[in-house]
Subunit: 437 residues, 2 copies
């Protein structure tokens, strides 16, 4: 998709809160989510605009959306819309941009009809945007893979396959939860000091900052998606916190990979920022260091060198129960940039389908922990505290090697570039509550 | 569930083909599947009886099923019925047993009404029985784990966690296909002889004989299922072929486990044999060898020693394209027994939920490759041919290290015990067709 009027930074919305500098959701963003509210029966799809939500079901009922799109917007999740593909998505974006634009929808009956479809975000409960069939978690940050590898395999931090194969594994779809849902500390088996394992609450609970892509039309079983057309299957992105119990993980993960260390909860942010909205923020994919192998042909795309990367920024915030009680704000633990990832989403998707595996609308492909080369660009506590050996000190004197009960973790993300409105991903929030007795 | 009249081996059905000795589907079995047929609009649920299917939707429409069950049987998959739980399942079994019994449904109007709901299996196309949300694959055969481990880690075949943790990983749900669907040879990355990887058709395609349990009501996120009540969540079992590309697998699997080596296809048999039907075939779980650790308390159940195991038998059959063309029958490659598994389904389920992970109706828990200690009890070619070094010779002079295009693999399974009718699992069938150009 090329840039068009929907990306024009000069345009404002008649929804005032969308024009504030600090908003995540200006007219140029238009992310989609699912919500319920006291005034609506059942879940609806909606689009964030400033501090409001445009109810897509209501817009559709008011005949303000074109036919095929209108039907897809009257459902309780985004899956039908996902299956329609890029031209439908662009059509919806164009229409919403016009209906919400100050310039394109002047005061009058039409604006009134759209305004009647607004719901304040403060009155809405956000829900999972999609019925997620399969969730795949990759390992696309070479800095994360290298730093974690060094802890477990000092002699060989990066395994020989890393620069050839986009490493990934199947995650658990059932335990994906929406931002704001509390996360219960898992119990599990870990290796005891005496050499025998014990079962109990995890003592090394961690977060992982990730970006996830929501899949559109997908592919038929047995028919790989070429890397060049992979972006046509990417509807949009959201923030994902891949909560991880490191003590359970290190004991269970060989030889078949992480399982219960991850499957107790995975949080996602509610607003899916579309691939279209991110068009101004595509940048060349990270350049491979000299000496690294070139991607094999099925993972090589000339477009990646032009705009395979995404110039997204992230931050990770922590607030403990004591900080909260004392009225202290969250403490920023780390920052992240997506630009340093070793594999692009197009490569991840092409790899995923290269064996014929079918993706379905609503599948989720997560990047893996987003870490950079800088010491502060650590996407999880495992890295940030060097496996708990260098705890982080907090403003009130507390310290953290891993997460404790009552800790709230917030992930934030945004895109920014000269000449364009800042596009926010919103936030992904979760608080740890104690393990079951 | 205790034994009752539905298990009585003396009882026969008025559907003649159900009374033949060799049938998989006598009156005592009553497995459930989904099918379509020219005479029906859309998919229906059905129960196999001899060579016939009783259309549950039609039975329901004829008011021959009690209310709550009737509604759950009018859908296109088994998920609603799965959510109802054991008492509903037993109620359905009892009712079907009566409607199909020679003794309980004598010639007359009622029998005629049931007979009007029969569809010959030869006219039906079987479909996936459930909408499978998450598919988990375990590694519960210690003989398989040890034999495979010895190939990859001669110094340490069995990792230290094996006897403590039921090892498993998340599988791919989207590529689960019904028996009879052809399987396209996957392409993928493998380690070349020259040390650099290449991308192309897998040269080490394999099958894996597995048994999978279909999950009933499941549990809420954060609320583990105790091992003692785990069987209440097991609706029934089916055969599963976890097709595996060994060359892709050995290159990709570290550190996050198998991914594309498995996700191109997983075949399942169409008939779900209920836990109730298997009641006569429950046997003590395999006794752990002296010196092995006892299961940790959350995986220890006194019932396992009594009837945690299942006395199921399997065979794996192969027919190559040339054998087929020559009119030769399949060749039996191996036999298997479920009785030797190291972990029971109750333990697998309790482990899976021990961290709070939620199971949903329709989730699938597979056992992992079923192998025994005997050389002929190898559940995959990797073991049977010692990683391809000892090819199997076939009756027509062909040999196989791994699967070739045109090969058909059939898995069969059944339960047998003195004083009871043999209960068949049916078969799980698939033929390899060539990789995409």
């Amino acid at each position: 998709m090329t840039l068009n009027s929907t990306h024009d930074s000069r345009r404002e919305s008649w929804v005032d809160s969308a024009n504030r500098t600090e908003t995540d959701f200006p007219l140029q963003n238009l992310p989609i989510g699912a919500f319920s509210s006291p005034a609506r029966r059942g879940p609806s799809l909606g689009v964030a605009i400033g501090e409001q939500i445009v109810d897509l079901g209501a817009l559709s009922a008011a005949n303000l959306l074109p036919g095929r799109i209108a039907d897809a917007c009257c459902t309780q999740n985004i899956n039908t819309l996902l299956a329609l593909g890029p031209s439908a998505w662009s059509g919806l974006r164009q229409q919403l941009s016009e209906l919400l634009g100050e310039d394109t929808c002047p005061p009058g009956p039409q604006r009134d009809r759209v305004a009647a479809c607004l719901v304040p975000q403060s009155q809405a409960t956000m829900l999972l945007p999609a019925a997620i069939g399969d969730y795949t978690d990759f390992y696309a940050s070479i800095d994360h893979a290298g730093r974690v590898g060094a802890m477990f395999r000092p002699d060989q931090p990066l395994l020989p396959n890393y620069k050839w194969v986009p490493i990934g594994y199947h995650g658990r779809a059932s335990s994906i939860i929406i931002s704001g849902t509390d996360v219960r500390r898992p119990r599990g088996q870990a290796k005891g000091d005496a050499g025998t394992p014990h079962f109990g609450p995890s003592r090394q609970l961690d977060y992982e900052l990730e970006l996830a892509a929501l899949i559109g039309p997908g592919n038929r079983l047995g028919e790989p998606v070429p890397v060049a057309t992979a972006p046509e299957h990417l509807f949009g992105v959201l923030l994902l916190n891949d909560w991880s119990a490191r003590d359970i993980q290190s004991w269970e993960y060989q030889p078949l990979g992480p399982f219960l260390a991850k499957s107790f909860a995975t949080s996602i942010s509610p607003w899916v920022v579309t691939w279209d909205a991110l068009a101004p923020f595509r940048i060349p994919a990270a350049k491979r260091p000299a000496g690294d192998p070139a991607p094999l042909p099925h993972l090589a795309d000339a477009n990646d060198a032009l705009h395979g990367g995404l110039d997204l920024h992230f931050e990770i915030l922590l607030r403990t129960a004591r900080m909260s009680a004392a009225g202290l704000p969250s403490r920023k633990l780390a920052e992240g940039r997506f630009a340093t990832m070793y594999w692009t989403f197009a490569q991840l998707l092409a790899h995923h389908t290269s064996n014929g595996c079918n993706l379905r609308p609503g599948d989720l492909l997560a990047s893996g922990t987003i870490s950079g080369p800088e010491p502060e660009a650590c996407g999880c506590l495992l890295e940030l505290t060097a496996r708990g050996t260098r705890p982080v000190t907090l403003p009130n004197g507390e310290s953290r090697a891993f997460l404790e009960d009552g800790d709230e973790v917030v992930l934030r993300g945004w895109a920014q570039a000269a000449g364009f409105r800042r596009i926010g991903l919103g936030e992904c929030r979760g608080t740890i509550f104690p393990a079951r007795e």
